[in-house]
């Protein structure tokens, strides 16, 4: 079991390393492959008013004239131990984890991300609860009552759900629920510590929008998994023991069905925690994902870079939690590893 956990931890670290490498490649190597010179590359890191001086400073700051390996080393070093940045004759300490400075606001990226974290956290966790409970619940009922009206309606809705992009449902909700019918106010983030009720009301639409898409997927997956499980030999054994159908379904059928769902949930929630880009954009919620999107418009590359790495961290973290849960859920892992 310890071997298993160590291996999973290793896999997580590997993932983090690869994401770091790929991110580095995107920002430092791909532009060169696209034919950019060192100066052009540096210009991208200077912001709006590129003076020759500023460009040279950027080259020095990001080691753009060094070999790629050195650049990568400095890049990784900055993340772990921080780095000193020179702006003109001013030297600033960017403490670890240092993702650099925004060109727009001249603020450190990492604290900015942390500042926006509560928004994304509220959105992801709230929506996660809704889609997990809703999706899995509906999937189970559909599987049990296969062919019933409930099943047909639920699966029809689920199919529609997976075919509806978040930004379309979000816009529809804004146009009708908020604007035309006035049922709910325009979604807005209020810290829960400030006003729990406002927090709730402000987040309902984003939660439902995100959960509708994800929940639809979960409902379909749960139903399919449940139907497959109910065809297994051990379900027949359970029935042959004389167990009630309720017990057959909820004790013997549910657990194997939910086991793979746990993995998927870990992956999905990790992705959403790293920035529910689309949902935050459509509702203008100032979360991590929106931070990255806004940075595109201004070509604020360090911000995009920072958010990408930060969200990779969440994915790795959630995967590790799932791996831990697995030890409890699936006894086979404990022995064989």
């Amino acid at each position: 079991m310890i071997t298993y956990l160590l291996r999973r931890l290793g896999a997580g670290v590997l993932l983090l390393a690869v994401v770091t490498l790929v991110t580095f490649m995107i920002f430092y190597v791909v532009p060169r492959m696209a034919g950019q010179t060192t100066e052009q590359l540096a210009t991208m890191y200077v912001g709006k008013a590129p003076t020759e001086e500023a460009i040279q400073a950027a080259i020095a700051r990001y080691n753009l004239d060094e070999p790629v390996v050195v650049q990568f080393w400095e890049f990784v070093k900055a993340i772990f131990v921080g780095a000193d940045y020179t702006f003109g004759n001013q030297v600033t300490q960017c403490s670890a984890p240092c993702f650099g400075y925004s060109f727009q606001t001249y603020q450190e990226v990492f604290p900015e991300i942390i500042r926006r974290l509560p928004v994304t956290l509220s959105l992801a966790l709230g929506a996660g609860v809704v889609w997990l409970v809703g999706g899995v619940g509906i999937g189970i009922i559909s599987a049990i009552k296969k062919g019933s009206i409930f099943d047909r309606v639920a699966m029809g809705l689920a199919l529609a759900g997976v075919s509806l992009p978040v930004f379309f449902t979000g816009l529809l909700a804004l146009a009708f629920v908020v604007h035309a019918w006035g049922i709910l106010p325009t979604p807005e983030y209020t810290p829960i510590t400030e006003n729990p009720f406002a927090w709730l009301v402000g987040m309902i639409l984003p939660w439902l929008t995100l959960a509708f898409l994800q929940g639809a997927q979960y409902a379909r997956q749960t139903r399919a998994g449940m139907l497959e499980t109910m065809g297994e030999d051990y379900i027949r054994t359970a029935r042959a023991k004389g167990l009630s159908e309720r017990r057959v379904i909820f004790k013997h059928g549910l657990r194997p069905t939910l086991t793979p769902i746990v993995t998927i949930f870990g992956l999905d929630i990790g992705l959403v925690l790293g920035g529910a880009v689309l949902t935050e954009s459509v509702y203008s919620l100032q979360g991590i994902g929106r931070y990255a999107v806004q940075a595109i418009v201004t070509s604020d590359l360090p911000v995009i870079l920072g958010v990408t790495l930060f969200s990779a961290f969440f994915i790795v973290l959630c995967n590790l939690i799932v791996d831990l849960l697995y030890v409890w859920v699936d006894p086979r892992v404990r022995v064989s590893g």
């Binding site: 529609a160 992009p165 816009l171 146009a175 604007h179 880009v277 689309l278 999107v293 595109i296 995009i304």
Partner: protein, 341 residues
Amino acid sequence: MTAPLEAQDSAEGAEPEAITRGVRNTANRSLRQIAWQRLKRDRVAMAGGVVVIVLVLAAVLAPVIAWLTGESPYQYDEALMDPLTGGALNDPADPASGVDPLGGMSLKHPFGLEPGNGRDMFLRVIYGAQISLIVAFCATVLCVVIGTLLGIVSGYFGGWVDAVISRAMDIFLAFPLLLFAIALAGVVPDGAFGLNGNGLRIGLLIFIIGFFNWPYIGRIVRGQTLALKEREFVEAARSLGAGNAHILFRELLPNLVTPILVYSTLLIPTNIIFEASLSFLGVGINPPTPSWGGMLDNALDYYTTSPHFVIVPGLAIFLTVLAFNLLGDGLRDAFDPRSTD
């Protein structure tokens, strides 16, 4: 003494085994014929198929349709719009007549007008389909090529090859895809890789989507290959002296065509949504070229006055994706060897 049994054996064909699985008289029909028969009876899937065909035709014939209607997707007509809100006017002749709640829908403009500039939505949606389908199809092809190749190699050779490829698939599946796509779109300058403008944009979209989504196909192909590899016909081919290339492409690949076809059909809608998402975030196709996601991005400014600007491109995405999903689900069920009817 064995005569009657022999007769029974050859005359009855595969029947005794088949009865237990609930299929009979299907022995002489090929799997594809059976699947086609099942699919034909699945009306929902067939409807999806028809919508897909209509869409593809519309996209291909977009210039012809534009010529027939005499409109252009790029033609501004600001005179039709309310200068204050950007919505279509109730009466084009009267700038003070207020905003038409239907967004200027008429015989001439069946999907209404684009708020702010008065371009014809019908043609913009059809031209948007062109972009959407091109990107989604090409990206899917890229996914299938990479996924099939790596999946089959990984499954067949096993060992460290499999370990490396499988790990790569895990990592790709765990990537914050949308952010990477945003980043890539952000750093690639115009006029790179010998392409520029929307050519580069389309190429980049296809590459991003195709390159990051191949593990879905890869996993399926790998899994199927692993299962097929255990079948003795692979060993049989080897014992006849066949090499790896023969086994991979002549023995295994024909068995993988069906799952690849089914899952590509299901991957296309995912890729359509992906393309629309990138365009929505402003890193997709450059305006003024129409794209569904881009229209919805603009709709963020107009949803209060012109709800049709949300609904029309949104429905276009929804119906397209739904049609592909229905068709894909239908194909999957039709080819499912476990289904009994």
